[in-house]
């Protein structure tokens, strides 16, 4: 099963819908784009990045039969069997020999000679790399292996992903956005802080956003002047130490909203724009938790987002970008849209759900795209998950159930070697819950959560025993 989306993606990136793509799931490429950029302090610790790095497995569902995916680890054979039963054509897999949990798949591949050799072989016969997002690391990988990247240069990808670019572009195109200020220099920051002070005095809140923040990181909501001054001092102090007056932030008014939206369009090499989908995003504290399908939008709202997609896509093409573009948007309490909160000119979580959506989420279905946090005492093989969730798993005949779209993140943070008694680790199961009504979807989601909690508890119990 190679979905229409993947065919369209190939055509957009290469000009032909039967190109041989090598997918690279280098999630949180923002960490690379942010290097040397003077934003908010980046404090990425704990098991989070280890789990995020194993989101590379999502690419299995985007690739088709003739494609390839570079992976940090071998997928669980039972998981692969499960995907095949659902009708997915599995791609070729290039698995690195030794993965470093703290590294992205790109960094691991750069250190792996057999993978580099194989990438070179694929490149020689016309294969091209399709990365989650393109930074200098992906360029280095392509260069070292001898395979082209089906993407614009990293410098363009980085530039159009800055939140400063998003705000400026929305301003130039006359698209509604929250009151705010771009801060590329200390002088602009000083002016923004004074404007923010006036908003605070008026009883409003403001938010500082790192130009290359991702998924809730690099966002700080400010409700009083003391915190405003502290952040101002922190950014000034960092710039002083760096020895220049560059800043990479936006400061915005924190506004009330009824819903978050994500919409995606694809810009072709020829500049043509195709609107892919709109989803309602489930977020908490700025962290992406999943999506609701379909988004609860009026025809007018959908038409507005379609129009904005065309405008944005055209402008991105003019600036040298082509490929997938995801845009975060908001619905205000009165139903009005803020069509551009930020532009993510890279793959998005929704990108990897495209084939699932095409194959299994019909017009009469509703779906919740979810991530279930787990606290485990021992690794959880796919077979155990499958047994525990048996009757809840997606049944194509019934058209409902849970579709698991990443298993690697479950055990990504498991400590290596022999387990010490009492050791626990965080894991995450990604899946899509599908049913024929919102109520049934919610009930199924609850039951999946309950079963997983019991299963996780069992792994901790075994540990104690």
């Amino acid at each position: 099963m190679t979905g229409h989306f993947t065919g369209r993606l190939k055509a957009a990136l290469t000009g032909t819908c039967d190109a041989e793509l090598v997918f690279l799931g280098n999630f949180e490429v923002e960490d690379q784009w942010a290097r040397g950029e003077p934003g908010l302090p980046r404090l990425t610790f704990g098991s989070g990045s280890v789990i995020v790095n194993r989101m590379d497995e999502f690419a299995l569902l985007l690739a088709g039969k003739g494609d390839h995916v570079v992976l940090k680890g071998e997928p669980d054979p039972d998981y692969l069997g499960h995907l095949e039963e659902l009708g997915f054509d599995l791609p070729g897999m290039l698995v690195v020999e030794r993965q470093d949990p703290g590294s992205t798949v790109t960094q691991d591949a750069l250190e792996d000679r057999p993978v580099l050799r194989e990438l070179g072989r694929l490149g020689a016969r016309g294969g091209v790399v399709c990365a989650h997002g393109v930074s200098e690391l992906e360029e280095r990988l392509a260069d070292r292996a001898g395979i082209p990247l089906a993407a614009p240069p990293a410098a363009i990808c980085k530039a159009v992903n800055s939140k400063i670019y998003s705000r400026r572009l929305a301003g130039e195109l006359g698209i509604r956005q929250t009151r705010g200020w771009t801060c590329a220099s200390l002088a602009e920051l000083d002016a923004a802080v004074e404007a923010a002070r006036a908003l605070l005095a008026d009883g409003r809140r403001v938010v500082f956003k790192d130009a290359f923040g991702v998924s809730g990181k690099g966002i700080e909501v400010v409700a009083d002047e003391r915190r405003l001054d502290r952040l101002h001092r922190m950014v000034r102090s960092r710039a002083r130490k760096a020895g220049d007056d560059r800043v990479g932030l936006v400061v915005e008014e924190w506004v009330a909203k009824r819903a978050d939206l994500n919409y995606q369009f694809t810009v072709g090499r020829d500049g043509r724009v195709h609107v892919d989908f709109v989803k309602e995003a489930l977020t908490e504290g700025g962290v992406h938790l999943g999506h609701r399908i379909p988004a609860r939008l009026t025809e007018r709202q959908t038409a507005e987002l379609t129009e904005v997609s065309g405008l944005l896509g055209g402008r991105l093409a003019d600036d040298g970008y082509f490929g997938v573009v995801g845009v975060d948007a908001m619905v205000d309490p009165d139903g009005g849209l803020y069509p551009i909160v930020e532009i993510n000119a890279r793959h998005n979580m929704s990108t990897y759900q495209a084939s699932i959506q095409e194959a299994f989420i019909g017009s009469g279905s509703t779906a919740l795209v979810r991530r279930y946090p787990l606290r485990l005492g021992a690794p959880l093989p796919f077979g155990s998950l499958r047994r525990a969730l048996a009757d809840l798993l997606f049944d194509p005949a019934r058209g409902s159930g849970l579709l698991i779209n990443n298993h690697a993140t479950v055990n990504a943070a498991a400590p290596p070697g022999e387990r010490a008694p009492g050791t626990e680790f965080a894991g995450r199961l990604h899946g899509v819950v599908v049913a024929d009504s919102a109520d049934r979807t919610a009930a199924l989601d609850d039951e999946v959560g309950r079963r997983l909690a019991a299963l996780a508890q069992g792994t901790r119990g075994e540990e104690r025993g």
Partner: protein, 102 residues
């Protein structure tokens, strides 16, 4: 204006840092402060994550009237409540030295 505590008793500062970290985490993670110990692990046990860590640092700065050099923060500083309190103590001592030498 930079607030520092050049005369702070460092042992006392450690205790205040533990109390501030505990109080801030108990509030943001909605847990009973009595369940948080000096050896409680910040990320794996208490649920601190990269989205809440800056908030914690700024609360410590405000409560203890100091400023962090965020560029030298490393993962091992955030292992437990105690390791972070030790880092706070070291940073405060360094700032006191800088002030004394200024």
């Amino acid at each position: 204006m930079q607030h520092t505590t050049p005369d702070a008793d460092t042992a006392d500062l450690y205790g205040r840092a533990v109390a501030t970290i505990t109080g801030s985490l108990a509030k943001s993670m909605k847990v009973d402060p009595d369940t948080i110990r000096e050896d409680s692990r910040l990320f794996d046990e208490l649920g601190l994550d990269s989205t809440t860590v800056l908030e914690l640092l700024m609360t410590i700065e405000e409560e203890l009237e100091m400023e962090f050099d965020t560029d030298i923060l490393e993962q091992h500083h955030f292992k437990t409540v105690g390791t972070l309190a030790t880092f706070v103590q070291e940073q405060a001592a360094e700032q006191a030295d800088q002030q004394a030498g200024a």
